[in-house]
């Protein structure tokens, strides 16, 4: 049974031309990387460094993706991440002030994670409530709450970095599975799998797409549109708070203005991943590929020390425009056919 579903979903995956094209871009990119920067390419540290970086905005992009699928958007993810990170850092400091013993530290760690996720979910639900119940356009709601959450973060922290966390937190977040796979990557993979199951293996996922496709019809079909919307923004908030925890680990501190460039980056990723900004369509695989493509590209770029970092947005934007052009040019679907035999032979 499972064999059938996997082979079918694989076929379907490669039927999505957009995903195919992103995959081709990634393959070309990796080949280029391997040929031009062989030494870096085969160095484990290169990949570990990437694996620590992209989960931060990758997790936010997952949330933005869900809200975009239901026809909304979430510009507040960075605000939620910073607010929850500062909140939980403050909480950790109060439970286990500097010099506390290790059990105390682990207690603080658990409390902080729980607190972060809870506040993230609440903040997301607040967005959802304003969108679904008060019926303010999502872009305005989340722009407003971005300011609001960032404002709360500034108020709690007095604008200063909150640091001096119990060492247990840093240890856990910096630990590596089998001594190789960094924690942030594990968190990202787990989150991706959970979201994947949610999107493709539960009724909730199907309903999300339906809601994004036609809200009136969803209402008439008896879907609880209000609750669906609230839950979607809630998940987005939850993911943002996980991103906040990852950032808290990566920087061993939290601050109201960390990751200020991630909002547009997350949207860029989601859109590059093929999610329709009007809602109703888009695939998780596309978004994941987009995250990886951008990260590989930017790390590749960094191996050329003399190319300024400012070329990064140029290249990211260029990739996005290129995908648009290729999608148009490749209406006949050559690329997909190239890939498809892999799917159908199974």
């Amino acid at each position: 049974m499972t064999a059938i579903t996997t082979s079918r979903s694989r076929v379907r995956l490669f039927r999505d031309q957009h995903v195919t094209r992103l995959a081709s871009i990634l393959v070309v990119l990796l080949l280029f990387f391997a040929l031009v920067r062989t030494e870096n390419f085969f160095r484990l540290a290169t990949w570990q460094s990437m694996a620590v970086q992209f989960p931060e905005f990758g997790l936010m992009a997952l949330g933005v993706m869900l809200t975009m699928i239901i026809g909304g958007i979430d510009l507040s993810v960075v605000g939620i991440a910073n607010m929850t990170a500062i909140g939980s850092a403050t909480l950790m400091l109060s439970i286990a002030p500097t010099g506390s013993d290790s059990p105390q530290g682990y207690l603080a760690l658990m409390a902080a994670i729980f607190f972060s996720l809870l506040v993230g979910a609440l903040a997301g639900a607040f967005n959802g409530f304003l969108v679904a119940k008060v019926k303010i356009p999502a872009i305005l709601v989340t722009l407003g709450t971005f300011e609001l959450f960032t404002g709360i973060a500034v108020i709690i922290s007095g604008g200063k970095p909150t640091s001096g966390l119990p060492p247990q937190y840093g240890e856990v977040m910096a630990s590596r599975l089998f001594g190789v796979i960094p924690m942030p990557l594990i968190i990202f993979i787990v989150a991706t799998m959970v979201i994947g199951v949610l999107m493709y293996k539960t009724a909730f996922g199907t309903k999300l797409y339906m809601l994004g496709s036609n809200e009136t019809a969803a209402e008439f079909s008896g879907l609880k549109t209000t609750s669906l919307t609230i839950r979607t923004y809630m998940i987005s908030g939850l993911l943002a708070s996980v991103a906040g925890l990852v950032m808290l680990g990566n920087y061993n501190s939290a601050k109201a203005d960390y990751g200020s460039t991630y909002t547009l980056l997350a949207i860029l990723i989601v859109v590059l991943g093929g999610v329709n900004p009007n809602g109703g369509s888009g695939r998780l695989a596309g978004v994941i590929l987009a995250v990886v493509v951008l990260q590989v590209l930017s790390s590749l770029l960094n191996t050329f020390p003399h190319i300024s970092n400012f070329y990064r947005p140029l290249i990211w934007g260029g990739v996005l425009l290129l995908v648009i052009v290729v999608n148009q040019w490749d209406k006949r679907d050559h690329l997909a056919r190239l890939f498809r035999w892999k799917g159908t032979t199974s």
Partner: protein
């Protein structure tokens, strides 16, 4: 051939894998009223798009005004007197009636600046031509479907058209409006303007057409005069099948009504509605647009709040405050406008069918059992003969008739006890229409209580065992269709309320 407005010669057109048109030829004389008929997906709309320059034909030519085109652009079509009234009307919902009417004229004259006074004058004249009253300053998006169409028609008539093409112009019009439209068409004829139109309503086709062209699977079947055909033959040419037109007789097993209302009222929509429905019945509700029929349906489906009165299900009073409550009481609703209210166009056929019952495919672990859902969808695809190669295809790839079956399937899949259908066969060809009616009858026979809201009088008379006529928000009479002629029904629907006051 002399003096054709248009001559289509051997036009073919294929879309990825589908031969939509296969060497079709068609000629229309000035002033001729020509009907294009065929099943859903037979290629009518495609032919129209080729004639109006929207699609380029793969093969064949089109002659307009004596000029031969193999690749026609929309502007060339318009400047040669071809005007199309599209199925979606192609109006601007955000602009006023006046602008909708006048903008095209301003454009046609290649004006750089618009003059609002001139636009008002143009619009007033245009509306006057079709002899209806529409507020020129109203936003078109706020008009009813019928009014939108009138705007579209008025706009098409403004230019120097020699051929007006209407793709299913009467689907959303009431009898009275259809009569008005036919008056206009005849008036055009007298001015030498030809009309090509598509309709799935046989009565109308026979009433107005001077010549038919029937196509099937993109191929030309026959072009002939109305005298050479009757309804039966006509249907046969279209579908290659034969139909019987037996009337519906209910098998009512329970005497206890499943759904009742007493003195149900909603402010500004309907008032004092009393009705009762038993399992196995098909109750018709008919009335003109704006008579309150849709609002009544919405109230019974929990989507519109009623102010006073009572709804009873199985004899117990209930408050239907949301769609979900209604669904939980076993009520289903097939909405009037399937595109905006019924379907998730870019989603798959399968998920469109199972969406309302999707929670029942969730295992105890919370995982969606996709194979069960797929099987359910496949069952309905087979049962309702939905023509698709793959349930994974988007609903937007289907024609109207098949789309309507999807909406029907969605509701049947929830195993409702009461099914309310609002305009169930609008824009659906006779083959599909017959299939849908057959399904409804079978369901009623199995004990489903059905309400059919329709202003398609033959449909109501043939398929219902009781008919309620609504007029200005009230039920003005209840009829036995076996005792009522189509004419009587039409008269009741459109009579002014004052004269009816005494009767009811």
């Amino acid at each position: 051939m002399v003096d054709n407005v248009i001559a289509v010669r051997g036009v073919s057109k294929a879309f990825a894998g589908v031969q939509a048109l296969d060497t079709i030829s068609l000629e229309i004389a000035p002033g001729e009223i020509h009907c294009l008929a065929g099943e859903n997906g037979s290629g009518k709309s495609t032919l129209i798009k080729v004639i109006s320059g929207v699609h380029a034909a793969d093969e064949g030519t089109i002659e307009l005004n004596g000029k031969e085109f193999s690749k026609l652009t929309p502007m060339e079509a318009i400047s040669n007197g071809v005007q199309v009234i599209y199925q979606d009307f192609s109006v601007f919902p955000n602009l006023t009636v006046m602008e909708n009417l006048a903008l095209t004229a301003e454009l046609a004259e290649h004006r750089t600046f618009v003059n609002w006074r001139r636009m008002r004058r143009i619009a007033t004249e245009a509306i006057a031509k079709i002899n209806v009253k529409i507020d020129l300053d109203a936003k078109v998006g706020q008009l009813s479907v019928a009014q939108k169409q009138l705007v579209a028609i008025a706009r098409a008539l403004m230019s120097d058209a020699r051929l007006i093409i209407m793709d299913e112009p009467t689907t959303a019009l009431t009898k009275r409006e259809v009569d008005a439209l036919f008056g206009i068409i005849l008036d055009l004829k007298s001015r030498g303007i030809a009309t090509l139109f598509v309709s799935h309503k046989l009565e109308e086709v026979f009433e107005i057409s001077e010549r038919f062209t029937i196509i099937r699977n993109g191929k030309h079947v026959i072009t002939c005069l109305p005298e050479e055909l009757d309804h039966k033959k006509f249907s046969f040419f279209m579908t290659g099948r034969e139909f019987d037109d037996a009337r519906f007789t209910p098998q009512i097993r329970a005497t206890q009504p499943i759904l009742e209302t007493s003195r149900l009222s909603a402010h500004g929509a309907f008032s004092d509605v009393n009705l009762s429905l038993r399992p196995g019945e098909i109750l018709g509700i008919t009335g003109l647009l704006g008579s309150g029929r849709t609002e009544l349906a919405l109230a019974l489906f929990g989507s519109l709040k009623s102010d006073s009165g009572e709804i009873r299900i199985d004899g117990k009073a209930v408050v239907l405050d949301s769609v979900r409550t209604a669904i939980s009481h076993g009520i289903g609703y097939v909405p009037e406008d399937r595109l905006t209210e019924g379907l998730f166009l870019e989603r798959s056929i399968g998920s469109n069918i199972v969406i309302s019952e999707i929670d029942s495919f969730v295992s105890s672990l919370g995982v969606l059992e996709q194979d069960k859902a797929d099987a359910e969808a496949q069952r309905w695809i087979t049962d309702l003969r939905i023509a698709t190669p793959d349930a994974q295809n988007a609903v937007s790839t289907l024609s109207g008739g098949n789309q309507q079956r999807i909406v029907l399937a969605k509701w049947l899949a929830t195993k409702p006890r009461v099914l309310i259908l609002n305009g169930p066969t609008v824009g659906v060809d006779i083959g599909s229409k017959h299939d849908i009616h057959r399904v409804l009858r079978e369901l009623a026979a199995e004990g489903l209580a059905v309400i059919v809201i329709s202003d398609d009088i033959p449909e109501v008379i043939q398929n219902c065992n009781r008919v309620l006529v609504m007029n200005a928000g009230r039920i003005v009479s209840e009829l036995d269709p076996t005792q009522t002629s189509e004419l009587e029904l039409a008269t009741l629907m459109s009579k002014d309320v004052q004269t009816l006051e005494g009767i009811s």
